[in-house]
Subunit: 137 residues, 2 copies
């Protein structure tokens, strides 16, 4: 595969959505390189993200478009969008306002495996989810 062949298509033509019409998007802080979360995009949310330069996903649990930060205010300004060799995974480099994780941490990857396969917290709590999303009944 030559670089020329490789770059003939546009970004949108290169993306391969899966059988559900979705593609996973890895989200990384554009300055520190910290991986913040992974979410899923359909074609509409990807087009919105490219147009607005703010991350927009497809919520699989709510089955609707999800502009990241619409409830919490923790928006993601998009600096770069990359695509992998197979065209089936996207990488967003963003500025994250506040915490990315609905549990309140900066990153959704706030737990790591210890040698005995128990887990420990390895990230910083940024907000109280009950204050941001309201108390669960």
């Amino acid at each position: 595969m030559s670089d020329n062949q490789d770059l003939q298509k546009s970004f949108l033509e290169t993306v391969k959505f899966d059988e559900k019409g979705l593609v996973p998007a890895i989200v990384q802080d554009h300055e520190t390189g910290k991986v913040l979360m992974m979410a899923w995009m359909n074609r509409e949310s990807l087009e919105m993200t490219l147009e607005r330069k703010q991350a927009c996903y497809w919520s699989r649990s709510r089955q609707k478009l999800w502009l990241k930060g619409e409830s919490s205010g923790n928006m993601q300004d998009v600096h770069d969008i990359l695509i992998d060799c197979d065209g089936d995974t996207i990488l967003l480099k963003v500025s994250q306002k506040g915490g990315a994780c609905h549990v309140g941490y900066h990153s959704c990857f706030y737990r790591k495996a210890k040698d005995d396969l128990s887990m420990e917290i390895c990230d910083t709590l940024m907000f109280d989810p009950e204050e941001v999303y309201g108390k669960k009944s």
Copy 2:
């Protein structure tokens, strides 16, 4: 969700495999934070990865266990394994020998979108795939 409740389960119990028995694994250079690739793991490949501290995946195209680097020599030594809030995505922090991408780049994310949605190369070519994997017929 309190941290105590959150840490009661072991790492393996926390992982939620999808309807195909797979979980996506994001792979990041443990020193630079560069995202190198995303691949999929089944339970067996995750257990092998945890045991050997070398990344092992499930190849969806070949439908078999795939010890990363078994053909190319470009192994991934695993430093840390993290899990996200929903338990359905893994993050590996690794030392990558050579390039991670079968096309020859350091990262599979070697193309980024330009403002006009054409693409440009944004990574370094590390090896010639024909030399490593043999010439395609």
